[in-house]
């Protein structure tokens, strides 16, 4: 067992873990933050995407110990109190989800990307989301939702 200390959704956590624990398992199983899902365990589908120090990462192929001392944000920590993040609102507005299994990862990747690139082109959005697989939506409404969050443009009509 190794000691570690990190912030998860703004809350400081001091804990001991087995070094072989991935960040995804730590978040989902140990902390009960079930929004961060396992979809493949190999870092290919993006269902496990969280933000570490603001950057989107694939938590199923990162050891929890590697985020010792860092700040982690999961989907549960995205809203500010009762106010949803603009990305979450855009997803709701556009119906940019169906079964919802890939949705937390999709939103976390989008949020991280938009923080770095607030006025992206559609092509840039598609590249940013290329590591998040979705089987239900064909990505059409997802891309439209992320495009609509662009602060320089008006909310795109559905």
């Amino acid at each position: 067992m190794e000691r570690m200390s990190l912030t998860v959704n703004g809350e400081t956590i001091e804990t001991q873990i087995n070094p072989g624990t991935t960040l995804q398992k730590f978040l989902h199983d140990t902390l009960g933050l079930t929004g961060t899902k396992e979809g493949c365990g190999e870092g290919l589908c993006g269902c496990c995407t969280v933000r570490v120090d603001g950057k989107a990462v694939k938590s199923c192929i990162i050891l929890a110990l590697q985020v010792n001392g860092k700040s982690v944000q999961t989907i549960e920590g995205l809203a500010k109190g009762e106010t949803l993040d603009p990305v979450q609102e855009a997803f709701l507005d556009h119906g940019a989800f169906q079964c919802g299994y890939c949705t937390p990862g999709m939103i976390m990747t989008s949020r991280s990307f938009l923080d770095e690139n607030p006025a992206p082109s559609e092509k840039e959005i598609r590249y940013a989301l290329s590591g998040n697989l979705c089987r239900c939506t064909g990505y059409h409404k997802i891309v439209k939702a992320v495009l609509s969050v662009d602060p320089k443009k008006e909310i795109v009509a559905k």
Binding site: G95, Q98, C99, G138
Partner: protein, 813 residues
Amino acid sequence: MKVKNEHEYNNDYEYIGKPERNVNGVEKVTGAAKFCSDIERSRMLYGKVKRSPYPHARIISIDTSKAKVLPGVKVVIVGDEETAPLRFGAGVADEYVLARGKVLYVGDAVAAVAAETEEIAEAAVDLIEVEYEELTPVFDGDEAFSQNPPAILHEDLKNYTTIRSVPPRYADKRPNVFNYFRIRRDYDKNAFKDADIVLENRFEVAMIHHVQMEPHCGVAEIDGTGRLTVTGTTSKPYGMHRDISESRRMPSSTVRVIVPTHVGGSFGGREPKAEQIAASLALAQKGFPKRPVKMWLTREEQLMTSTTRARYIVEIKTGAKKDGTLVANEMTTILVGGAYAGTGYLTARNGSFGPAANYKIPHFKLDAYGVYTNQRMAGAFRGFGNAETLWGMECNMDMIAEKLNIDPLEFRLMNCTDEGDLNAFQEKMHSVGAKECLQAAARDIEWGKKPESPKEPYLKMGKGIALGNKYSLVPTASACFVKVHPDGRVELRTSTVELGQGSNTIFSQMISEEFKIPVSKVRVLNPDTDCTPFDLGTASSRSTFNMGNAIRKACADAKKQLFEIAAKELDVSVDLLVTAQSRVFVKDDPEKSLDISELFIPMVIGGYTLKEGGEILGKATYYLPGVMPDPETGKSSRPASFYMFVAQAAEVEVDIQTGKIKVTKMVTANDCGKAMNPIMVEGQQDGGVLSMGIGSALLEEVIVDNGVMLNPQFADYKIPTTLDCPDCDNYKSAIIETAHREGPWGAKGVGEGTMVSSAPAIANAIYDAIGIRFHEIPITPEKVLAALKEKEKSGRATFGGNHDKRLSDMENK
């Protein structure tokens, strides 16, 4: 908005047809949504499966002694009389929960373990020793279908129990056939007499996987009274309920099945194997209390062992007159199934509906078969066999149009079915949006306008179009309860599964429309056989129509009860009353009104009651038996509840040096009857075309060697990513509303019609670009390059699908 017949429907609704936000959306975007795979129970055990490494073998012995004593192991089961007393199956009961006597595919479940952790369970599985005697397997569809196949999977098939309502039919001389269905419309040796041209071809379709983002999961719990509850990712709670209880000789009400509000997709692929094994593990525990057991397939397990869309062989012969009029069509279709029929038994049969209903064809012959092979289960996928059979038909039709020098769009417009036409079942078609779909797709792809000149000389472009349809099955039944609460809110108890398609949302809209309350005041319970009544299953694009009709009837029943109580209070006649905004009032005198809460009597100690009747609980069953097709001719006046039509067109860019294909533009037009919620309809269209349509046409294939899947992970089983779909501006979807006189507000359905014409639209576009006809999907770059080189060498412009082979070749061996 199109309304096509005399049953005009009012388009001015308050909630119907509106783009209401998904009622489960907030949970999904905040991570609050709990899926079956998120379930954690106190003292839960984890299940793992021991699987056969052989495609066909006799089980000689199983030694579980080492597994049983591994610390942390609590249950070890094998396929024996205690664990697996009876077979089960959707149509023919051919499957045990754990194999008994023989294993029939690589991955067939032989034993299972429940342990304190997944790691211990896996280690225990490795300690189970199984001795097998290998038998010759059969993988090839032609061979499996033949009269002398190299292997027979179910020697005792004729003695298996079958379902009464739509029993399978076998083929005497073909021992691996698990279903046979035929259509004969005005067919004899003169069928092609009036045809000026006859084209005969063979087409094939590769096996693909649904790739639901949440792998299959089941959690089985036994309470203190010994009652079993199974929670799962199934799309058919009552089907699973029957399979679990009947195959164990358990009285049905002693089993409870729950499906969470959030299920990570289905697309027709949720055979409840994980739930079944979890149940067996839970039930095999000795002592008290019984611990919950969770069986969650890994992604690799899901891709390797769970049901897929079957390979298909389609042989088709079509005849037409010089002027383009279709004269005759003859087809043989083989669903190349897996070791157990599963939903394949019905898919094999019902894949024939698409070809039967697409065009006006006076002379029609179809023989549809499902055959066993030593592979994992293969059967239902979005489209239920129709994408596969229409793949063959729509390619063949395109070839005929070309031979006759008729534009492929005009050819289809000339021949497609329309309102009142007879299809091959000799059923009079009602609610047919074929023409409108074709016209919309043609408009959106700019049919007739050549694609823009590509930037490089090695890029070629082309356009293609295809027509499709998807029926929805009969016999069908859906029941529901609608409860009016004292606070004026309304609750729906339905066993339709919210898979992401938005059923909860449109059902809420229906109830809102009936009670004139906002969607936020409607609640939909998740499926629970303890309180949500029977539904056939969330499949066949049937929920909007069937459950929608049940909801309307149950609302009427609830309102009748509501008005009877209110009539007494208001002292007016029942038929003068209406309800809106949680109030009941006299229609022409709205001052005479009561809040729904006022109809309940507050009781001392607490709570509210009615004087009689218990609750305001509307109940209804919508039961549509249809008419069973004649076994020899398929003739039926109602072989399906309705048909959804679709037309899709694609523009492709082909790199003739690498074979790479890019879908630069794709459009879809879907006839769904009245669209309950355009956002939900669009969502179905988008996913059907952009994920599965493009995926099945160009990218996806379960690659198998000797029964073993070689690509069971996302790196090598390739579903489309954001970069594999056309840009937002280059994808268009049109909603065609051709009202159905029996549909709730004229609605039909949409889910599956979304991909039944995608592959042929893309293949026809590829033909337009490079002059090669592909007879199989997926059309990979390597195949394109090989086909181009062959064309250069020999002039041959046909590739794949074993197009020179015929099923009848096997008879001469």
